[in-house]
Symmetry: C2
Subunit: 139 residues, 2 copies
């Protein structure tokens, strides 16, 4: 639920610079509101005249994730995706058109996680849940 402006301010407050790549990546994720992978972002930035090396994109994403401005997401195609921080949600992934939508569930496994900690002695830190299927457009 952080805004683009808040992220910018926090970056400056911590003594980091506002480079074209940094602003570009942030703006992209806040505008699209969808998980994007590094090469997608490099292409999208290039279209708006921001030509950056792929190494820069990877390092920028690592930096922004470390600073908690964005979050890494894995969607089971082997690539790393990133999205802007928002309330905890899960993804609906269309196996046909690959589109990604968010979904917020009421049940967030608090009971199940307690059961796991009790029965397996496993301390749950976080979880990951994705639904695969066919979106409304592709049916």
């Amino acid at each position: 639920m952080k805004t683009y402006q808040e992220a910018i301010q926090q970056i400056r407050a911590r003594g980091y610079r506002l480079t074209r790549a940094r602003q570009g990546v942030l703006k992209l994720l806040w505008k699209k509101r969808k998980p994007l992978a590094a090469s997608d972002m490099q292409d999208l930035l290039a279209k708006q005249g921001i030509i950056v090396n792929k190494t820069t994109v990877y390092r920028e994403l690592e930096f922004l994730a470390q600073e908690k401005h964005i979050e890494e997401v894995r969607l089971h195609d082997g690539r790393r995706y990133y999205e802007c921080v928002s309330s905890h949600h899960h993804h609906l992934i269309c196996v046909t058109c690959k589109s990604i939508d968010d979904v917020i569930l009421e049940n967030e496994f608090e009971r199940e996680e307690r059961q796991i900690e009790r029965e397996a002695g496993f301390k749950v830190l976080n979880h990951s849940l994705e639904f695969f299927g066919v979106c409304a457009q592709c049916q």
Copy 2:
């Protein structure tokens, strides 16, 4: 819940061959009962004298998954894992020692999936849930 012998019989019944690599991979997955990645299996096979090319391992895994003798699993490190078929379960992944354990939940989101289909028009085919945390040994 398929046994190793059943898998072997089904493979022969469908006219496919029983090669060293094929038997080796199957035996490994039935013995370990844990998700294994291609390169892990190549190493484990080599230790028991079964030297196979990585291409063979990848093709074997694809074949066995297609024939429904094994299942592909993604564990968010970007690699493809495979495990022998058993009842529907989820994974507990230790962020410290990377060990993987199974967990079976009572709630399998039938209600949530119906909600998703009703509200988003998204037809759910399957889902994927993993828990990340610290296992009993690593605490």
